[in-house]
Amino acid sequence: MADLSINFAGIKSPNPFWLASAPPTNSGYQVQRAFEAGWGGAVWKTLGEPILNISSRFAGTHFNGQRVAGFNNTELITDRPLEVNLKEIYETKKRFPNNPIIASLMVEPEQEKWHEIVKRVEAVGVDGFELNFGCPHGMAERGMGAASGQVPELVEKQTMWAKEAAESPVIVKLTPNITDITATAYAAVQGGADAISMINTINSLAGVDLDTWNTIPHVAGKGAHGGYCGPAVKPIALNMVAECARNSTINVPISGIGGISDWRDAVEFMLMGAGGLQVCTAAMHHGFSIVEDMVEGLNNYLDDKGLASVGDLVGKSVPKYSDWGDLDLNYKSVARINTDTCINCNKCHIACEDTAHQCIDMLKAKDGTKYLQVNEDDCVGCNLCSIVCPVDGAIDMIEIPSDEPMTWKEREAAIKEPSCGISLVK
């Protein structure tokens, strides 16, 4: 049994799986049930000035029979009074002293307001804070959430104000609704953040009803953008975590959030630099008990890899993530079709013929049977055929031995002065 415990920016947790600040962490009742189910920690649904919510708040995007490939929500921060939340945090902490509770906070960008809420919340014994600079709807229209999180100066300043009052670690939660998340991550570090978390939800409209022409969801016939999360956003989140992890100026722990649905996703985020994890949509889709599979799967993976601790995973793939200009132009891979496994559905041929490099041929054997074959000389290793192939193992991508590695950056330098600066005279 591997050690799954983490120490995230000074916050100790029995395992890396925390519930993210969201509807699942709205009350003591829920958070206590989550801890009973095995969640390591919880980021309490964002505290701030109580708000009013609209009815009809969520929408799922389903794809080809897969329910909740993505999830859209327009719910705001807590609509319960601060005193009620604080009482329930205190009671929950008393019952589960070893499970960290992190209070998510959102107030207007004013120093006194940050000082006040930090002091009041810290008094009930939270293990840390998470500053919500990411919520993209509703609160942003009041200058909070993503509206603050898109301006590096405001991120830095508000982080500083929270840190002035806080004794517990401060995590800054970043919005993905920005071109370069490392800019705001750096601002958080400059403001004194002990850690950063990402990603919050992405601006989204789940759909339009073809009969009524209403947005999905709609409120009395009108819609507004929500925040998108769930499995569909995982690649976006993973990239943002990796970009921050490989940036040497962002030298604080990262809590990975965004479509983590099982232990495999968890491992990927940790390999790409996440020291802790937060989950929401998977719990909303399947209930708190899914953490059992996550914990068991992660533990088995670590045992299989011969790793004693989950911490041994953190950041191991970060050196493998780079800029496009650092990739080897001489590396070559080609597709190879295994005719024993191939069912001749022709999807690879069509995909390659119509939308790639026209290098898969449907051929006929002497006995008249048809088979598909890749012209490996013309194959550029785009992977499309193996992506669209419905049969596991029917198409392998094979590495072809190549010349000396040469990156685009190296090439640019080389062709600038091909003759190595030797002065040539005519």
Binding site: N330, D377, D378, A414, I415, C420, L424
Partner: protein
Amino acid sequence: MERPMSHHKEFLLEKEKIDNLYNKGYRITAVNETLSGAFVEFSRVIEKKILEKEELQFLNPDTRIYFSTLIRAEQKAE
């Protein structure tokens, strides 16, 4: 409509031209990449003196990688 000319065949033809010049002692002395492809200047040099020059246009992306790899290999060897 016929398939476009084989990417690889085109590369082999362009590579052959480069190899021929290299076998004759030419080396690449300038590269000018434009919207119309790469214009590569080959010079036959003896004792740092250019005896002959020739410019070829290359269209194939693999050729652009190939001649750059040759340039880099020479630069590394020097």
